[in-house]
Symmetry: C2
Subunit: 337 residues, 2 copies
């Protein structure tokens, strides 16, 4: 059995989408056991008419909620009974093997670091979403916002963690790692990337050199490492262009009768494309570097997206991603700040 803690109250569509998605995952995976952390009466009411194996669900009461507008660190420290804090404490206490939340990213990051705690040797846990690549595969972008100011030695740690994830969970052999940079040639970069480059060459990953931002989706890197600020810019720029192009496409397709008929004929073909429009709501961003798999679902997660995040967390438990990172860290030196 795989035991996961679910923050039932976090997310724009919580608790409905969170509980529906979790039940979906529960019904698909007979080895799953879920703790629903949140307001007991609300959760009970929502689950009342649902069909699922009740022996694999436990409601853990948590009366408080951390909002997106709260200071994450303060909120996590003050609200001992917040759903996200209760969920992470289940992991800390060994009752759950991993946790999933679609609530405040900051609170989930802070809580995971304070409660679940960092893996020995990892100085900064990092947030890592998967992005779709042009060739149909996926690339892990790490870090995307957990650490907006980075020291060079953090980046090889990101590279090791990202490689472990892509190998274990995504089944990529010898994942190719790129360093997000402002030019492809060696020697390009700002102070951070110039110093990180030789560290990445030495840290034991399959380092493929600099990745320009356009290479993230158009080239063959499996992992792209970055400080959290630049990674966030890359992720959200992509999101912006996606939103813009799909919105313009929709507008052009309804411009007149001719284009409406064209759009109708193209509909099945475009469905394949549309998954790229909302890739950010697929699954979640993984927080790598803490002592258990913790996954942050997109704030706007619907049931399907949250279900994917639950499966993702379970797979990380099954494939022992954390154990792989721990083993890799024993081969890399570095001060433990």
């Amino acid at each position: 059995m795989i035991y996961l803690a679910v923050d039932a109250m976090g997310g724009d569509h919580a608790p409905a989408a969170i509980l529906d998605g979790s039940i979906l995952a529960l019904n698909q995976d007979p080895e799953l056991f879920l703790y629903f952390c949140g307001k007991e009466d609300v959760i009970k009411a929502h689950l009342a008419d649902k069909t699922y194996d009740q022996s694999r669900v436990e409601i853990v009461p948590a009366d408080e909620i951390v909002g997106n507008d709260e200071h994450p660190v303060e909120a996590v420290r003050r609200k001992k009974n917040a759903s996200v804090v209760v969920a992470l404490n289940l992991v800390k206490d060994g009752k759950a093997q991993g946790a999933v939340s679609a609530g405040s990213t900051g609170a989930f990051l802070a809580g995971s670091t304070f409660i679940v705690k960092r893996i020995r040797g990892i100085q900064r846990p990092a947030l890592a979403p998967l992005m779709p690549r042009m060739d149909g595969k996926e690339v892990l972008l790490i870090d995307c916002g957990a650490n907006v100011d980075c020291r060079p030695q953090f980046l090889p740690q990101f590279a090791l963690m990202g490689s472990a994830y892509m190998e274990k969970v995504m089944g990529v052999k010898n994942p190719k790692v790129g360093l997000l940079n402002n030019g492809a040639e060696e020697g390009k970069g700002n102070e951070l990337t110039k110093e990180a480059y030789p560290l990445l060459q030495q840290c034991g990953v399959n380092f493929g050199g600099n990745a320009e931002a356009r290479d993230i989706v158009t080239a063959d890197f499996d992992v792209v490492v970055s400080d959290g600020f630049a990674g966030n810019i890359a992720l959200k720029s992509s999101e912006g262009i996606g939103v813009m192009l799909f919105s313009l496409l929709k507008k052009e397709m309804t411009r007149n009768l001719r284009s409406k008929i064209g759009a109708l004929l193209l509909k099945p073909a475009l469905k394949n494309l549309m998954k790229y429009a909302d890739y950010t709501s697929y699954g979640g961003a993984i927080l790598l570097g803490v002592n258990a798999p913790v996954v942050k679902g997109h704030g706007s997660s619907n049931a399907k997206a949250f279900c994917a995040a639950v499966h993702q967390t379970a797979k990380m438990v099954r494939m022992d991603v954390v154990g792989t990172i721990k083993a890799a860290m024993e081969n890399i030196k570095g001060e433990d700040a």
Copy 2:
């Protein structure tokens, strides 16, 4: 008459596309005078069968070329007779009022700074491309790679220069400036953006707060300021997603007979959309902060794109963008490093 220096030898399709685009601009704008800097025989041979007003063209011999693989600063210092150096010297000597090149970005940056020189009070000239916005307008992203490591006080200078350009050349009244950041709320950011925020509030531009990367194209900022590293990531991420989505769209549209017919019906509508696919080849990125308008055409510029870059440079001369920046700089304090 407006006198511009053209680096005839710079760019992937030089000199043909450069000369063709320049002649196109010359024939459209009767007030234009162009100096073609480059190998005299090559230029003469290419122009031999072209129709244009020969009294408004002068060939200035320059036997050397700076390649993309050369160290920009060294190349500009060593190759006194390189086409880009000769073009910029015409500006320095007052013969030309502005310069255009589609060659090595680094060499053009270095040459502009060393030869044309910085505007008094501007610590770092910055590279600024226009990006298309979802609402059909355009946004200037400044800096996109000239300064990969920035101090906070550079950013208000970027804001002032960008505002001057958008107001004078693009006709935007009171341009709204955003600070590229990893979150919309005040207080978000890395060390640089947190320190730059209050400086932007005080520098006299219409500061609209933080811009997340997705806001660049989806919101209503006219200018988005950034250090050159993050700006480069934003620009090239957008480019990558654009390339990916259009490539996938094309693939889906030729998947079977049904989608082929649909695509045919949609063709006119999609033409409007396609301009977003290659916006980076439209006009050029402006280098703001030196004593004359200098525009860097995209390396892959065709004649049409280079023609747009020439018109852009001429408009900067006509609207006295440099004079506007100079005036604005008198209202902002700052050490002159």
